[in-house]
């Protein structure tokens, strides 16, 4: 079946099997491999992308469910610019990553969090990132990075 959507601002369509997950469509059909797959159960959040502006787990959405939608992946966050998005820059500056496997999902979840919870406290940041698992950092620097990223995003 044919699915069409806007991915990182560009129209994208492909012929896929109905069972194709959004994450498979992005990685295997569009070769956007920045979106990671860390589990098979919807627990880890490594696959987080924005679907019509809201963070979702791309491993738990069918490509068909995203028909006609606007999808943003980590590759599209900087909007084609050479500079990193402020949240990406904050993760680098505050050492919000070690191996980096969880990072694309963390950053995408964090950007949504800033929009829905402007001025979030440490506690709110931790609560809102419950769907993202990191096996390296112990989360301390991730929370610092999200706070700094939120500040440089100016609450948007």
């Amino acid at each position: 079946m044919k699915v069409s959507m806007t991915v990182n601002g560009k129209a994208a369509s492909a012929d896929v099997e109905p069972r194709t997950l959004l994450v498979e469509y992005l990685r295997d059909h569009l070769e956007l491999t920045g979106t990671h797959v860390g589990c098979d159960t919807g627990q880890c959040g490594a696959c987080t992308v924005h679907l019509d502006g809201r963070a979702v787990k791309a491993c738990s959405v069918l490509a068909g469910q995203a028909e006609g939608a606007e999808v943003t992946t980590i590759e599209g966050l900087a909007n084609g610019s050479e500079e990193l998005h402020p949240m990406q820059a904050a993760f680098r500056e505050y050492h919000g990553l070690q191996c980096g496997f969880c990072t694309p999902g963390m950053v995408m979840a964090a950007v949504d969090l800033v929009k829905t919870h402007p001025g979030a406290s440490d506690e709110t940041i931790r609560e809102q990132l419950e769907g993202n698992i990191c096996r390296c950092t112990g989360y301390e620097n991730i929370v610092r990075a999200v706070k700094a990223g939120a500040a440089s995003m100016g609450g948007q």
Binding site: R19, L21, R54, S60, V61, E130
Partner: protein, 267 residues
Amino acid sequence: MYDFQYHRPTSLDEASRMLSGAEEASFIAGGQTLLQTLRQRLAQPSDVVDLGGIAELRGISREGDNVVIGAMSRHNEVAGSADVAGAIPALATLAGGIGDAQVRNMGTIGGSIANNDPAADYPAGLLGLGATVVTNNREIPADDFFVDMFETALEPGEIIRSVRFPVPQRAGYVKFDQPASRYALVGVMVSQGAGGVRVAVTGAGPSVFRVSEMEDALGRDFSADAIAGIRIPSDGLNADIHGSPEYRAHLVTVIAQRAVNAALQAH
């Protein structure tokens, strides 16, 4: 995941027609439960009918003494709705505490109650507030809707359109969550309204249930102290690595008291 035929109807009539033509069909709403099931090959539907394109299933509104929530409303939409927060803040709290942010952006009230997971939050919300489930061909009171573990009163092919919640005088929801999954080890919705006091417990048993002894006591005196001495029997409660039946029975009293306090604080 086994492959299937995928359909995306735009009306309820079209959805029913697609269903009757299929060998073994399943609806998909948010997909947060269904896709995990399909990925583990625990089910093999020939056809998957996506309810996401049906406008009739969306929207949240205040209608007189009720709040009506469309079946396709995402948990985050309920948590962030001004109508819900104004009329039944306990329900906004409940929806905002389901799973994690990404799950709340996809998961729906219709999918949650159709699934009737023994540890899900919404079943306690519906039973504890005395809600009514509206389907494509009838209305089912919450008291009759939740039948047993993963079992509801829905007929094959029946589609939930919306849930109608009467606005209570006061209500509180508190969940003691299992920290890895955030599902309820025990969750309690307490409400007081035109229909009297209701106390509904999720997570503790095979399916959500009411505690009439607590309801009677709270009807006489709506305070946490009034139920402090009421212990429910542990027979038949859930046992797993997270807690024994005795532990869950103990939690029911503790969490019910907290829910009463939450109700008193909110109103």
